[in-house]
């Protein structure tokens, strides 16, 4: 297997895990609750691996992307509700990523944030226009690997490995007040949402179709899901753990993405900071591309339009106009001056509400022998799939009350 074939999973995961919301939530989680939320990352990572593998398998076997089959399976009305909810969720997420990447560019260059937002939108549109799908995933996936500096930084600060290992055991920290317990619960829900963002599955399954996956690619799909998502999770846990060691004891609450970059600056100095910012830049830019394309894929697949970036932009014209329009809409949201962190919170909240609607049809489809033949879900996939569906449904029910009770995790 060519290692470059892993780039779809790496881009999906780096853009999905270490996007702007993850950078902030992982760092805040570590600063506020030490290592006690690592298990939520690990638990959610298994969930996203399970569902990514399913969506890739459906793409490879049924040769149909998830949204096509979702509409057939859920019916037109429920399919349209899912589409509308995911458009809103993905658009807000895309605006948050666009705002985030502009902010990082502002840190790197000192140029005005709004100007950077316009420049970045033009650059992202140009990159999708010019590059074929394989190169989009390679460029953003591989350059996002600068983020590995966060794992290196964690090793360099000699963290308490026993405490990090202990963080993998499900736990609720002792001695929390009711208010703090609610904030902890909000972080649990927010991390599940951020790790299992629905756009990751839309992008990954459509990417499988873009790459013309077939039965011979089922192993690639499995390895890509595990390696890609595993790597993304590792980076998220590294950011959380560094924050627990560096920011928690100093009572620093990382409210902006730039604070997370300091995790690399402390052990490695100026160059550590630059590499961290570059990694964040490509990972968040990749996430912006991913959310925008995921949205355009969903709309085109639902309405039956020709779609895909393996085709030239003019060969899938309505799809092309859609992703360009979505980028411009995301830019318009950023230009209203709304705070990036507010967008991040809304993105997390909307995503968790959409999660059950996204994963239920996928679970039903991948378990349907009529579509999947002998490649239908086995007992492990079935058990894990339904377990995680139950968890995300509970998280979706709890999300809104927790958001309001904790003022968006701020206590």
């Amino acid at each position: 297997m060519n290692p470059l074939e892993l780039t779809l999973g790496i881009m999906t995961a780096v853009g999905g895990f270490v996007d702007i919301s993850e950078l902030v939530f992982a760092a805040k989680a570590g600063s506020q609750f030490g290592y006690a939320l690592i298990w939520v990352f690990a638990f959610s990572t298994i969930g996203i691996i399970v569902f990514s593998e399913m969506s890739g398998r459906v793409a490879a076997v049924a040769k149909q992307p998830v949204f096509n089959l979702m509409r057939h399976r859920l019916g037109l009305k429920l399919g349209l509700i899912t589409l509308a909810a995911s458009i809103v969720s993905n658009l807000i997420t895309c605006a948050a990523e666009l705002g985030g990447v502009s902010l990082i560019l502002n840190y790197l260059t000192g140029a005005p944030y709004m100007l950077m937002a316009i420049v970045m939108t033009a650059a992202l549109i140009a990159s999708i226009w010019v590059l074929p799908f394989k190169w989009i995933e390679r460029v953003y996936g591989l350059l996002g690997l600068f983020m590995i500096i966060f794992a290196a930084a964690l090793i360099a600060i000699h963290p308490p490995w026993d405490k990090i290992a202990g963080g993998f055991v499900p736990q609720i920290p002792h001695g929390l007040s009711t208010k703090e317990l609610l904030v902890f619960a909000y972080f649990v829900v927010a991390i599940i949402s951020a790790v299992m963002f629905p756009y990751e599955v839309y992008f990954y399954s459509s990417g499988g179709i873009e790459e013309e996956w077939g039965l011979k690619d089922l192993l690639t799909n499995r390895i890509t899901s595990i390696v890609g998502m595993g790597l993304g999770s590792l980076l998220g846990i590294a950011i959380l753990s560094s924050s627990a060691q560096l920011f928690g004891p100093a009572n620093v609450s990382p409210e902006i993405p730039g604070t997370a970059a300091l995790e690399a600056a402390i052990p490695f100095g100026k160059w550590g900071l630059i590499v961290a910012l570059l990694g964040m830049f490509f990972a968040v830019a990749g996430a912006a591309v991913e959310t925008c394309l995921a949205n355009a894929y969903s709309i085109a697949q639902f309405f039956g339009w020709i779609w895909g970036r393996h085709k030239k932009p003019w060969e899938a014209p309505r799809f092309t106009l859609t992703w360009v329009a979505l980028f411009l809409l995301a830019l318009a949201i950023v230009l209203t001056g709304v705070d990036v962190m507010v967008l991040v919170e809304f993105a997390i909240l909307f995503s968790i509400l959409v999660l059950p609607l996204t994963y239920l049809p996928l679970l039903l489809l991948s378990g349907d022998r009529k579509y999947m033949g002998q490649y239908v879900n086995g007992s492990t996939a079935k058990t894990l799939g339904w377990l995680y569906f139950g968890v995300i449904t509970l998280a979706a029910i709890a999300a809104l009350p927790l958001y309001f009770l904790t003022s968006g995790g701020n206590g």
Partner: protein, 117 residues
């Protein structure tokens, strides 16, 4: 499955993708046209493709949103032009014969045909 077989409309036909003889994607089966009389067999007469065919399947408020995003065109493809029915529907003819690519062609006029690798 052939067009003459007994078909479960909801699970085996509606909302499935449609491809023409050139292998081009032509959209999704959005609704069907039936013919028959009381006491007689119900027969499939045509496939309806395009968001305009959602009208009978959706509340009117939802149609406002659909029109905004996707328009309200409907294209009718007679059943005798269908060659097979499976996970996807395949036609016997090019989709262009029935204007199935008209909306894509109209959108194509707005896009520069240059710059992509």
């Amino acid at each position: 499955m052939t067009p003459d077989s007994r078909i479960k409309l909801v699970s085996e036909l509606l909302d499935l993708p449609l491809y023409d003889t050139d292998g081009l994607y032509c959209g999704v089966v959005d609704d069907v046209e039936l013919e028959g009389k009381p006491g007689k067999d119900l027969k499939l007469k045509a496939l309806l493709i395009g968001p305009g065919a959602y009208v009978g399947r959706m509340p009117s408020w939802a149609m406002v949103l659909v029109r905004l995003v996707a328009g309200e065109r409907v294209t009718r493809v007679p059943m005798d032009q269908v060659s097979s029915i499976g996970p996807a529907i395949h036609l016997k003819c090019p989709g262009r014969n029935y204007g199935l690519h008209r909306s894509e062609d109209r959108a194509r006029a707005w896009i520069p045909h240059t710059g992509a690798l």
